[in-house]
């Protein structure tokens, strides 16, 4: 027996290991998405895919482009921090097509914020409906300028 010959059982083990590693590497090359690992241990293409969802809410700036008068009116009163879409609902469909009308909110929506509740902070104006003048808020209050009478 020659001194440096690899025993056949070891040789088989080496070949088998190489084969497994080889199969793994080839499979990994083909199955790993192209963008995997660009930023980290994930598919970077997912960022673009998630960012591609269409938004529903257009933002106050988009509303003010057409409804300048309402934007100026609301900026004068205590409701100045409110977004148009807080009360009128998502407006992206309306921005794309003005025929799509947004909801004209009714009185119960006022109570969603202003109904007396011990959990609400004290700086917020709150009413107990039973002790207040009536249920139709809009008879006395202008939502775009709540301190003014209609």
């Amino acid at each position: 027996m020659r001194p440096h010959r690899i025993p056949p059982q070891i040789l088989r083990l080496i070949l088998l290991t190489l084969a497994i590693v080889g199969v793994y590497s080839v499979a990994r090359y083909f199955l790993t998405p192209a963008s995997f690992g660009r930023y980290g241990w994930y598919r970077a293409a997912a960022l673009g895919e998630i960012a591609a969802y269409p938004p529903d809410y257009a933002g106050k700036a988009a509303c003010a482009q057409c409804h300048k008068d309402k934007a100026e009116q609301i900026a004068k009163g205590p409701h100045k921090a409110l977004s148009c879409e807080s009360c009128h609902g998502p407006g992206m469909a309306h921005v794309g097509n003005p025929d799509v009308k947004l909801v004209k909110p009714a009185a119960p929506l006022c109570l969603r914020c202003h109904e007396a509740n011990p959990s609400r902070p004290e700086w917020l104006k709150q009413v107990t409906l039973a002790d207040h003048y009536g249920e139709n808020c809009l008879e006395c209050h202008v939502p775009h300028q709540p301190n003014e009478a209609p």
Partner: protein, 278 residues
């Protein structure tokens, strides 16, 4: 005794035959790979979805802060989030929600300064908060706490994911890759803030994305957009604008994070938080 003769079509599995079967199955497997790439796996072959307006995720670091003193519990944010992100309408599926904390007055002679804490969140607050069953004269303190993904620095959810489907993007937002998620739910269990759920329609994990499709377009997240009280402050920590509300907020307020002792490194900041908040 003679063994029954082997039928002609069943060859005995000797070494030669075994090697042949192994070789042909390997060859078959490799011929499958390119065909898989051509059809279903061809997702990656399609042009990669581009970011809106050349948005570069490495040049931003988004963050939200919450001012508990400004939250009035209208939960318009919860409703807006559900609409914007097509979150299933049923309760228990929320990307953001509002919790109402009620701290009772302590019992007389109890030696306590603050009584027991009651937390509720009827339908996540989506339909507003009806008056609590606890009478006003028994309440020591009460307030609302908006909850959302805490954008952890060492997020347990991304570490728990076995397939690399959830990750923290370079801009700080923790996202779920809906094509990679296998719906195992490990991330849902690992989130100590309960911010994740399994979408019953897609069977994948979902969570707050800070409205990634909006912030990459220069819009505010839907919850921030509709918040009437200014309780939600959103901004970019890497490139703050001159009149950035977030920079102003952190300069003016004493801020804390939720469950800092867990070592998750939550980045979402809270101002005006009582010790009872978890």
């Amino acid at each position: 005794m003679k063994s029954p003769p082997t039928p002609a079509h069943v060859q005995p599995l000797n070494r030669r035959r075994w090697l042949a079967v192994l070789g042909s199955s390997l060859a078959g497997l490799f011929s499958l790979v390119p065909s898989r790439r051509a059809e279903g796996g061809g997702r990656e072959r399609q042009k990669e979805a581009a970011m809106p307006d050349g948005y570069d995720p490495t040049r931003h670091r988004w963050l939200m802060a919450l001012d508990i003193n400004r939250c009035i519990g209208c939960a318009l944010c919860v409703a807006a989030c559900k609409t914007e992100n097509k979150v299933p309408p049923e309760p228990t599926y929320f990307r953001t929600w509002i919790e109402r904390y009620i701290i009772r007055k302590p019992g007389p002679g109890s030696g306590e300064l603050r009584g027991s804490t009651i937390v509720d969140s009827p339908n996540g607050g989506r339909d507003g908060f009806p008056p609590s069953a606890i009478p006003r004269d028994q309440i020591l303190r009460s307030f609302f706490v908006p909850k959302l993904c805490n954008l952890c620095e060492q997020s347990p959810c991304t570490q728990a994911c076995p397939v690399g489907a959830t990750f923290q993007a370079p801009d700080g937002v923790v996202l779920v890759d809906p094509h990679y998620c296998i719906g195992c739910g490990f991330c849902i269990q690992s989130c100590p803030y309960g911010c994740r759920f399994l979408n019953p329609n897609t069977r994948t994990a979902e969570k707050c994305t800070l409205c990634y499709h909006r912030i990459t377009r220069g819009l505010k997240p839907a919850c921030v957009e509709v918040c009437p009280g200014g309780a939600r402050i959103f901004g970019d920590a890497m490139h703050p604008l001159p009149d950035d509300p977030l920079s102003e907020f952190v300069a003016k307020n004493k801020v804390q994070t939720l469950k800092p002792y867990l070592g998750t490194g939550p980045r979402v900041l809270y101002a005006g938080m009582d010790k009872e908040v978890r």
